[in-house]
């Protein structure tokens, strides 16, 4: 998909091409308003779909529709349309698909969260959906701030090591005594003033910025020298520093924060970025080898990691199903997906609330149950489309920092989707990550909307290159 866009030029490329206007003799370099108009059209469509989803949930689960659609649907609509208006002024050339896709995923997420609220009889501020709308507002507002403040992504390169420091602090926060909080066995939360936040979600952005900046400046030493072994050029021992540090960091997350998914996410992000930066497959071999070794040892030593593997491999064994921390959730999720079948039970008609954490970690299973395999395919396609827009930036970008940052940010979304959906569908062991944009949880929303802002900014910069046509 992404390849095709590069070689042939997608539909937007045609829109964006410097088409000579016959009769006037003026070459129009670009037609930015067309991009924004397309975005507006898509956003209006998305808002209609989101509102329709909420109404369907009400008819399905309650049997009637009320004004909730305005608080849930319209709230998000106003926010994304506000962001759209801002883009018309500060990022006129930004990619027109990123914002509508994010808005659609966010909206469907709110509808399904609201659906679980109904099942659990949560209303008012108890309602997770209401809080999700508020968080979406905060996240989109933050995204707007990012777009307004960062007028050119290259400034981020200046803050490479500051980004590292920020990432390190964010990761360490949950380990602090007072504000750190352990939920469901994982110590990845901070808690203050009545609400919880997962700083690791935001840390991944800081890490992507740091990796991009660091790798751009060090890529030559990381790629040129080294010894050849088995047809691969392996790096010198002294250049192994960064990957070993990252490996140690991932292992620390596994051991101290008990969070397999995040460790895999960070490490995967680093390996992909160093591979793209250096073009050396040996980094991938090294990285995958190190992580597998670490995971196998952790599986032997750490009980919770071992449990995750057992739950995954032998989920239907009654002893494991009934065990504390066993495969109950995984199996119930599978039952939910199976209950959905090809076309789903219909919004509000299934029983997704049986599965624990149906609003957050298991939001994907809830969607699979009520929207069926068809809905799952649509959601997966939306994610894939979103990721492909990010990769386009990397393919077309002029500066290596921007290209690396683009691939890094898009790849985190891709890898996170794979880890969470793969976990739910038993491709890999289940870990506690959230489905981007959809899962209930402020930190995840904030992080992913900041990614949206950065990708919008990057795509705008890319298209602003005077000679560039993408």
């Amino acid at each position: 998909m992404t390849n095709g866009a590069v070689t042939n030029g997608g539909p937007t490329a045609t829109t964006d091409a410097p088409t000579p206007t016959p009769g006037r003799g003026i070459r129009r370099i670009r037609v930015p308003q067309k991009l924004r108009n397309l975005e507006l059209f898509l956003l209006l469509f998305v808002c209609a779909v989101n509102a329709f989803a909420v109404v369907l949930v009400q008819f399905g689960a309650l049997g009637y529709a009320d004004m909730t659609v305005f608080t849930l649907g319209a709230g998000l609509a106003v926010l994304v349309l506000g962001l759209h208006v801002a883009l018309r002024f500060v990022a006129t050339n930004a990619d027109p698909f990123i914002l509508p896709i994010a808005a659609l995923l966010n909206g469907i997420g709110i509808a399904i969260i609201y659906r679980i609220d109904i099942a659990e009889k949560l209303t008012g501020w108890e309602s997770t959906a209401v809080r999700q709308v508020v968080w979406s507002g905060l996240a989109i507002a933050l995204a707007l701030v990012v777009i307004l403040v960062i007028r050119n992504h290259r400034v981020l390169q200046r803050y490479t090591y500051l980004a590292m420091l920020v990432a390190a602090i964010l990761l360490l926060l949950p380990m602090l005594p007072v504000i750190g909080q352990e939920i469901n066995g994982a110590r990845v939360w901070i808690h203050f003033g009545g609400f919880s936040f997962q700083p690791g979600e935001v840390a991944k952005i800081a890490l992507a910025v740091f990796f991009a900046g660091y790798l751009v400046s060090r890529r030559d030493s990381l790629s040129m020298v080294g010894t050849k072994f088995l047809g691969l050029r392996f790096p010198r021992a002294r250049d192994l520093g960064p990957i070993l540090v990252l490996w140690a960091l991932s292992m620390a997350i596994i051991i101290f924060q008990r969070d397999l998914g995040t460790a895999l996410l960070y490490f995967g992000l680093f390996v992909v970025m160093i591979y793209v930066a250096t073009g050396r497959a040996s980094w991938v071999v090294l990285g995958v080898g190190l992580f597998l070794a670490g995971a196998v040892i952790a599986g032997q030593v750490l009980v919770y990691v071992n449990d995750r593997f057992t739950n995954w491999l032998d989920a239907f064994n009654p002893a494991i199903y009934d065990a504390q921390g066993g495969s109950y959730q995984l199996v119930q999720g599978l039952f939910g997906l199976a209950n959905g079948g090809l076309i789903g039970t219909g919004l509000g008609e299934g029983r997704p609330d049986i599965t624990p954490l149906a609003q957050s970690d298991y939001v994907i299973a809830s969607i699979g149950e009520e929207l069926g395999l068809a809905g799952m395919f649509a959601i997966l396609a939306l994610y894939l489309l979103f990721i492909s827009r990010g990769f386009r930036i990397s393919f077309a970008g002029q500066d290596d920092f921007g290209r690396l940052l683009g691939v890094g940010l898009s790849f985190t979304v891709a890898l996170q989707c794979f880890i969470v959906i793969g976990g739910v569908t038993r491709v890999i062991p289940l870990t506690g990550l959230t489905a981007p944009f959809m899962a209930a949880g402020g930190s995840s929303l904030v992080a992913n909307w900041i990614i949206v802002a950065l990708l919008l900014r990057l795509s705008d910069t890319v298209r602003n290159q005077p000679r560039l046509v993408i």
């Binding site: 998909m1 591979y275 793209v276 997906l337 209950n339 079948g341 090809l342 395999l373 793969g422």
Partner: protein, 483 residues
């Protein structure tokens, strides 16, 4: 960098292809298997979204679903409580179902193949799905009589219409109230279920079809039939009249119920042995005939065959490969012989119906919500163990047993009743199993019945089939005859 990006793109695509495949496998290929998993509460919830069909007796519901306000749309209720617990069984949240609720679940829930188009139509038109209702062959008057007659004994009563195989009454005690298992609180269901599961007398077991006891002297119907029909012996064929029969290769002996000989004289006829229910002549007869005629006759009556009514009936067994001692014991219903009350009732039904057993069933009619009939009762022959001549001889012997023999407590004034008692031993010191089986009127049978009283009827080893089981059967027969 572009080359690397392309490769990463391919990796991302592969990751998503994996997810497309994994979701397809779960939601399409494994969906049915996952839905069938016993732990899948969604399947149960879905079944509560349907207005489950009613189970009817004489047009009146003995199980029906009524709308509720809780998270389940319908509540299953059993208006008659324990009276029909052996018939309807239970339908629970989390602990499965039993009896008709289980065996006809496809119809009751509206998911049977014959209801598929109707089901599809309801989905498309948005109507609430509705299951089919099941009308049973049970006669409420006979059921009530059997229920009352059995009283507080642990045991079972089953009554069949011999000419059709319709089951008129099916009672198993101790009973339970299926309403207590139909509540929508899984913990409460589990607690009640566990209590019933551990309760003395196994109330959750339908003893008419799923409880195997030594048939005792009721098996003499089989032995006598085998002697007359398979071995070609006349009814006045004689055996030595002993007071004690040593078992070959063992220090145990067989004695008659009274302890003495079987009437007077040095020899005893088959007829006398049957009417007075003597063990020694039957044991001698068994050994004289050999295993084959006996086993063949038992199998012709239904021993060793599977049957569903439509609940699966436990298979009654007459063992094979016996030595002479075992053969002697098996000839009067001891040794390793075991039978369900339904099987014992089928012995009487065969004799009553001129030698032919009609397939017993509980289902009279299954009717879809639109009143179209999905299935209707048809009398079907199951087997013909006896010629009409043998049947007629057995019938006379059974009438004689009631009139002047060992089954006198089943006598009904003005009606000729045929019957056979049984008092089966379960083991050293264990309480007896007390039986009666019979039919009436003998010249034009309208009902065949089997009664079993377990645990000695509370009398240990001092009760007898005639004393405890025959009066119960008498009241059931009267209930039919007075209609």
């Amino acid at each position: 960098m572009t080359r690397e990006l392309k490769r990463v793109t391919i990796v991302v695509l592969l990751m998503f292809v994996t997810l497309f495949v994994s979701t397809t496998i779960i939601q399409f290929f494994q969906a049915d298997a996952l839905a069938d998993d016993a732990r899948n509460a969604r399947t149960i919830y879905a079944s509560y979204d349907t207005e489950r069909g009613a189970i009817l007796v004489d047009g009146q519901p003995i199980a029906e679903s009524v709308p509720t306000d809780d998270e389940f749309k319908y509540q299953r209720t059993y208006p008659q409580g324990p009276l029909y617990s052996a018939v309807t069984g239970y339908y629970t949240l989390g602990q499965g179902s039993s009896q008709i609720e289980q065996s006809l679940n496809d119809y009751l829930s509206g998911t049977s193949d014959s209801q598929f188009l109707d089901y599809l139509n309801r989905i498309i038109t948005g109507q609430n799905p509705q299951g089919a209702s099941v009308e049973l062959t049970i006669d409420p008057v006979v059921q009530q009589a059997a229920y009352d007659a059995l009283g507080s004994y642990q045991g079972a009563v089953v009554a069949i219409e011999p000419s059709t195989g319709r089951i008129l009454a099916m009672v198993s005690k101790p009973d339970y109230d299926p309403n207590t298992l139909a509540v929508h609180d899984t913990q409460q269901v589990l607690d009640t279920y566990d209590t019933l599961l551990g309760a003395p007398g196994d109330p959750l077991i339908n003893k008419t079809i799923n409880d195997l006891n030594p048939p005792g002297s009721t098996f003499k119907i089989v032995t006598t039939s085998a002697a007359l029909q398979n071995a070609g012996l006349p009814v006045d064929h004689t055996e030595p009249n002993l007071a004690r029969l040593p078992l070959a290769g063992s220090d145990r002996t067989v004695s008659n119920a009274g302890g003495g000989t079987c009437g007077g004289g040095d020899t005893v006829t088959i007829a006398t042995a049957f009417v007075l229910s003597c063990n020694i002549p039957m044991a001698e007869l068994g050994v004289e005939m050999g295993e084959s005629p006996l086993a063949d006759m038992a199998n012709a009556f239904g021993f060793g065959s599977e049957l569903s009514v439509p609940m699966d009936v436990s298979t009654s067994l007459y063992p094979r490969g016996l030595d002479d001692a075992q053969l002697a014991l098996s000839a009067f219903g001891q040794g390793s012989d075991v039978a369900t009350p339904l099987q014992v009732a089928m012995l009487s039904a065969a004799v009553a119906n001129g030698g032919t057993i009609m397939t017993p069933t509980l289902v009279d009619r299954i009717q879809a919500p639109d009143l179209s009939v999905l299935e209707t009762f048809e009398a079907k022959e199951l087997s013909t163990p006896l010629t009409s001549i043998t049947a007629s001889t057995l019938s006379q012997l059974m009438v004689e047993a009631v009139d002047n023999g060992a089954a006198t407590n089943a006598r009904i004034d003005g009606v000729s009743v045929a019957g056979k008692t049984g008092t089966a031993e379960n083991g050293e010191g264990d309480p007896y199993t007390l039986w009666f089986t019979g039919f009436a009127p003998a010249d034009n049978p309208r009902v065949a019945v089997a009664v079993v009283v377990e645990d000695g009827g509370g009398l240990g080893q001092s009760g007898s089939g005639n004393e405890l089981a025959a009066p119960i059967a008498k009241r059931v027969l009267e209930a039919v005859l007075s209609k």
